[in-house]
């Protein structure tokens, strides 16, 4: 029972279509696990099930040995499952630091502190800002703390989202295509950032199309195709798996 996350026979049907069919795998604590597959293979559906955005039609999802499938998103976030989104979900009017602070839970001002403007409010808000800026520093965005998120480049917005996910102090971090829209320099920085999560005790599940990043940073890969897990193993082995090659080439033919 060393697995932080165990997915057991999980299915998700939309009407008659099986987006995921009987998928099982385990994510050991401290690992960086990649989930790859052609478009429409069920990667994002899987992320939605693990993060509570959606509930499975069948099967079990265990986090630290406890079944968590079907629990609401905010509860799972407080349990230690954080995620970023394929389509960026930041609040464009708020600054980068304010977006990150949305996910901070300690310290938090009470309703009385806020409405009565008690003296300790400025202390609490100051501490929250300090934490938010330090998380932005970690993702390489210290200079952008006070800029509205809507003004940032695509790659920077992705990094604000990662900083916001880190603000919940996750034990499991789900990254949904974090490299999309990033240039080569940003991708290298992202690679280093993800590799660094291991040392912080954060387990990472990475859904990504950028094969250099996936092959470089992951310990283990799971390959989905049309909702089924077709292969798994270390990156070097998966890369040469005939089923995987066929799935990708087949997808390109279609």
């Amino acid at each position: 029972m060393d697995a932080l996350l165990a997915i057991r026979g999980v299915s998700r049907r939309f009407g008659g279509v099986a987006a995921l069919a009987n998928v099982s795998f385990a994510v050991p604590a401290g690992a960086i696990v990649g989930v790859i597959g052609p478009n429409g293979s069920g990667k994002t559906t899987l992320m939605n099930l693990v993060s509570g955005v959606d509930a499975p039609s069948g099967g079990e999802i265990l986090f630290e040995g406890r079944p968590v499938q079907g629990r609401p998103v905010h509860r799972l976030a407080r349990l230690g499952i954080a995620r970023t989104f394929q389509h960026i979900r930041l609040v464009p009017q708020l600054t980068a630091a304010e977006n990150v602070a949305l996910a901070l839970h300690e310290p938090e001002a009470s309703l009385a502190d806020t409405l009565l403007r008690l003296p300790r409010l400025s202390h609490i808000e100051g501490e929250r800002r300090r934490q938010a800026v330090s998380l932005l520093e970690r993702t390489g965005l210290d200079g952008a703390a006070d800029r509205p998120a809507g003004d940032l480049s695509y790659g920077d917005r992705r990094r604000v989202e990662i900083a916001r996910a880190l603000a919940t102090r996750p034990r499991l971090l789900l990254l949904d295509e974090p490299a999309a829209g990033m240039n080569a320099t940003e991708k290298r920085a992202l690679h280093a950032l993800i590799a660094g999560f291991r040392a912080d005790g954060i387990t990472t599940v990475l859904v990504e199309h950028d094969m250099d990043l996936v092959m470089g940073v992951c310990d283990h890969l799971h390959v989905l195709n049309q909702g089924r897990a077709i292969a798994s193993g270390p990156p070097a082995a998966v890369r040469h798996d005939p089923l995987v090659i066929e799935a990708y080439l087949g997808a390109e033919d279609a």
Partner: protein, 281 residues
Amino acid sequence: MSDLYAAYENVIDLCLLNAVLAFSCLLLLRVNLLSLATGGLMAIGAYLSIWLTMREGWPFGPALLAATGAGALAAAGLGTLVLRLRGDYFAMATLAFTEVVRILALNADPVTGGALGIFGIPKYTQTWQLLALLALAIYLVWALRRSSLGDRMRAIAEDELAVAAAGHDVARLQLGLFTASGAIAGLGGALAAHLNLFVAPSDFGFLRSMDAVIAPVLGGVWNLFGAVVGAAILTVLPEVLRFSAQLREILIGAVTLLAVLFLPTGIASLPRLLLRRGRLA
């Protein structure tokens, strides 16, 4: 100045009352909730306060408190039932609530006087009370902005899933705000009841609920004074246009439509927009 007040006291009181009610809807609009429950919640506060003061001999203060509590309680109950509905369905469910309360009021003759209404309600509501309440509402909205809670509300308006993924129970915050807005509506209903000599169930129907929602939209949901400006326009305009009933409805509709189309940030943001344009020119 005092002559002016004497001549327009009624309109001023109505402006203040409508501004307070507009704030109760503004709180909800800021977290993506379009509620048409205002009329029904007002009716509960109004009839409770009338009953307590006229039948039970309560002083006005405790009756106002009771109306506030009743509004909050009714909203908490209603919210628990209907907050799981999204968007249009939520709006429809709150409208149904207002209609149910109105029809109950129409048929509860002993308490409400039925369709004929209640005459001879003592006028207890004073302008300063309304003014103080409005000042409190403005202060609370001011205190919310530039706070973590205000940022969270802003984020919910933009993207509820992002806030949930940040570990916040969005539904719980919405229920809290719905309850607070119910308290304001209940209190507003009691103040409205004791502002005139007469109250009938039709005073608290669909139109009442619509006005309370349109005011902050017209004035600007994200502007501190949006609710006040919107309520003032919606209250004064019909008085100015009293000479023609048809023109009144048409013009109010046209003003709202123009504001939504060309000033989506609200009429209260006009000075700042003009100032910016002046600086650029």
